[in-house]
């Protein structure tokens, strides 16, 4: 694949350009920590933004299922989409309201979403999606049958045109505000994983109580 020069006019970060990141390594690290994206598409000039899960393998993002429904009704040959992933790391309280900010890492991917029609690629894409969201689950769960595969639509978005924005660290106040009499700093935010909750539909008369698997009890998005 020939590499698209980064950034393009469409992905160049306009505001706060010093926070822009265009290297694949950083972008893939963000995409791999996240699993929820917001997919944008336009119909007759009206944009729609739908939250959905995604998976990444190499230079492709995969999304599937219900979230894509409005898209899928008008898609055959590929349609322009924007896939945005945002990880929120904190609220930044400067002394001035103007310099308040957020710490975050976000990725924007522009591309043409293509329907995955080949049966084996589709199954593999679903495995990639599942393993992206909950590594280890695919082998443990009842995998899709023919009927379910027919009901599922999978889209592939090539990661060719992209940018990221990253803000970290403390507030940056103007020098003349440093003596303003108020607290300043960062309120850290992160995703908290709770204790897994057993499905109440499990019937202890029919089956033994099953142990929570390690990929659920030790669930984390931190990737090494």
């Amino acid at each position: 694949m020939s590499e698209t020069p980064m950034p393009t006019a469409r992905t160049r970060v306009v505001r706060e350009a010093h926070r822009a990141v265009y290297d694949r390594e950083t972008i893939y690290r963000i995409l791999d920590e996240g699993f929820l994206c917001h997919v944008g598409f336009a119909m007759d000039g009206q944009p729609f933004v739908i939250p959905t899960s995604y998976g990444r393998k190499d230079d492709s993002l995969y999304i599937h299922g219900s979230a894509a429904s409005r898209m899928l009704r008008q898609m055959k040959e590929g349609m322009p989409v924007c896939v945005t992933v945002t990880l929120l790391d904190g609220l930044v309280l400067a002394r001035s309201v103007f310099n308040h900010s957020m710490n975050y890492r976000s990725v924007v991917v522009l591309g043409n979403a293509v329907l995955v029609e080949d049966a084996s690629e589709k199954l593999e894409a679903l495995r990639i999606l599942s393993e992206h969201i909950i590594p280890g689950r695919w082998e443990d769960a009842r995998q899709p049958n023919e009927r379910e595969l027919k009901q599922t639509s999978v889209l592939r978005v090539p990661i060719e045109e992209f940018s990221a924005k990253v803000r970290t660290g403390p507030p940056i106040d103007d020098a003349e505000d440093l003596s303003f009499p108020t607290w300043a700093g960062v309120i850290p935010l992160e995703m908290k994983v709770g204790h897994p909750i057993d499905d109440p539909h499990s019937d202890p008369k029919l089956e033994p109580k099953r142990a929570v698997p390690g990929y659920a009890s030790g669930y984390t998005r931190i990737r090494q």
Copy 2:
């Protein structure tokens, strides 16, 4: 204001319609718990989705600043946008891969974003934004001056056309899968608020160490 009948053809939830919610009370509760939205807009058929903070007051959403930059360059009279807010509550592990899901609450607002040009409305919109994100901060911080107000753009999006989708609770497996030998249940997810971190730019020789204010140490998105 005449109420737009909900849902419109554009906001009707197509897939999993039983998860659709159209009442303002539920939608405002979701909008008030969140503060990060993904704003979609289209330029020449290409959608863009940008993460940014927002505030709500009555039937209006306000967004501001850098996130709107690409939009602002082409906006005067109002442009169609989609503002989506998603709160993620958990991963739902069914016995079948097909019935895996997420617990979430999401709101989609379609509307024309309008630039707020009146100076006093703009200042009030910034106060609403600030108080939405960190209630109590506005009075404590150094408020915007003329120069900063000029550098800031504020958009108002009327909440007229909207829908929400909500999923809660355990997995829903097909009856024939209930005996499949794997654990099933929910991994709860929520936003974790960490201990506030003092700005290292504070100079203890110039000023006393300031106590972390209650709105930072007790920060929460849970609204009563």
